[in-house]
């Protein structure tokens, strides 16, 4: 195992001690990045979703983008069960941390993340009645932390948006006296993509 690792360490050491370093601030960013992956939403109830994002680097250190999350449906007997008609769309920005002198771009970023969505609750009906569907609209405003890795054209990203979700049930009925809810949420995600 050590013998196998030796050439790898030598390569890393060569790169570190290279005399003529390229100025990291002059590296050209991608024209666009398209990613797809999975995301969770905590707390109170865990929702799982399939994510699609497209982002455009404004420069090496700042990106803006749009995203769509399509939620997976659940067992109607589960707490706050949702159907697969639930989705959300949003915009985000990423500001990558960078070196004060070196200009090197960190993998870590921070930025705002705003999402609007539609949630369809799917509760079981009484005594064999069809399921009761309750529609709600959601609005999330979050701070998005994340780590984006570039491996050639491949892009791997871990994101951790943290913030607040406001949910408003669209249809009032007997069971929904309080039609608005606020939740503290985290929405960790893992996505893979390509930089064009």
């Amino acid at each position: 195992m050590r013998r196998f690792l030796l050439p790898v360490w030598c390569l890393i050491a060569l790169r570190i001690s290279a005399q003529e370093m390229e100025d990291p601030s002059e590296v050209k960013p991608y024209h666009a990045i398209v990613q797809t992956g999975i995301a969770l939403q905590w707390f109170d109830k865990q929702f799982k979703s399939f994510t699609l994002t497209a982002e455009r680097p404004l420069n090496l250190y700042h990106h803006i983008g749009v995203q769509a999350n399509l939620f997976f449906s659940e067992d109607p007997f589960a707490y706050r069960s949702i159907s697969d008609e639930s989705y959300e769309v949003g915009v985000f920005a990423k500001s990558f941390f960078h070196g004060r002198f070196t200009g090197r771009r960190s993998k870590t970023y921070i930025g705002p993340d705003i999402r609007f969505g539609r949630r369809v609750y799917n509760n079981p009906g009484f005594f064999g009645d069809p399921n009761i569907r309750r529609k709600a609209v959601t609005f999330k405003y979050m701070v998005r932390f994340g780590w984006q890795f570039h491996l050639g054209s491949a892009v791997l990203e871990f994101s951790l948006p943290i913030g607040v979700e406001k949910e408003r049930l669209v249809e009032n009925n007997l069971f929904d006296g309080n039609t608005t809810n606020n939740w503290f949420i985290m929405a960790p995600g893992l996505s893979l993509g390509i930089g064009l």
Partner: protein
């Protein structure tokens, strides 16, 4: 009643975040030397072969496209070790305005203790600066803050 508690919590959070900033030594490309703002920076020239004992302080530094000029004053061995060695995180943070330029041993072999010199960048072996390791700083902060929250969330069985 709760306001002092919130204030104290806010101050504690600020202190916590400040203590979670990690500095690390990073290589600096020569081509960036003319671009950086040298105000409040301290430049040191180190013999690449003996970085702990042979160190010069560089003042009146001027960085051109392919060379640099400045006035050198040699430090004694104790000060040289202080410059070259970083003992802990706090030491690294205090060194964030220092630029360490490692010169090839051949070039500094017959360099005077005090002199005005012109050094081509080809004679530099490497240049290093202390900068924030953002990944580690953000990662540790988030981990320390949100692990208890996630733990409570999991325990509460929601």
């Amino acid at each position: 009643m709760l306001q002092p508690v919130f204030r104290a919590a806010f101050l504690l959070s600020v202190c916590f975040f400040c203590s979670c900033i990690f500095y690390q030594r990073y290589p600096l490309a020569y081509s960036r030397l003319p671009k950086i703002n040298t105000t409040n920076l301290t430049f040191y020239l180190l013999d690449a072969a003996h970085p702990r004992t042979r160190v010069w302080h560089l003042s009146e530094a001027e960085f051109l496209k392919d060379k640099m000029t400045g006035f050198l004053v040699k430090l004694d061995e104790q000060d040289a070790t202080e410059v070259a060695v970083v003992h802990n995180r706090r030491d690294a943070r205090y060194s964030r305005d220092e630029v360490l330029m490692f010169v090839k041993p051949k070039f500094v072999l017959d360099m005077a203790d005090t002199a005005t010199v012109t050094i081509p960048y080809t004679q530099l072996e490497k240049v290093e600066v202390y900068e924030v390791n953002a990944g580690k700083s953000v990662g540790v902060s988030l981990f320390m803050i949100f692990v208890p929250i996630v733990g409570v969330g999991i325990i509460s069985d929601y």
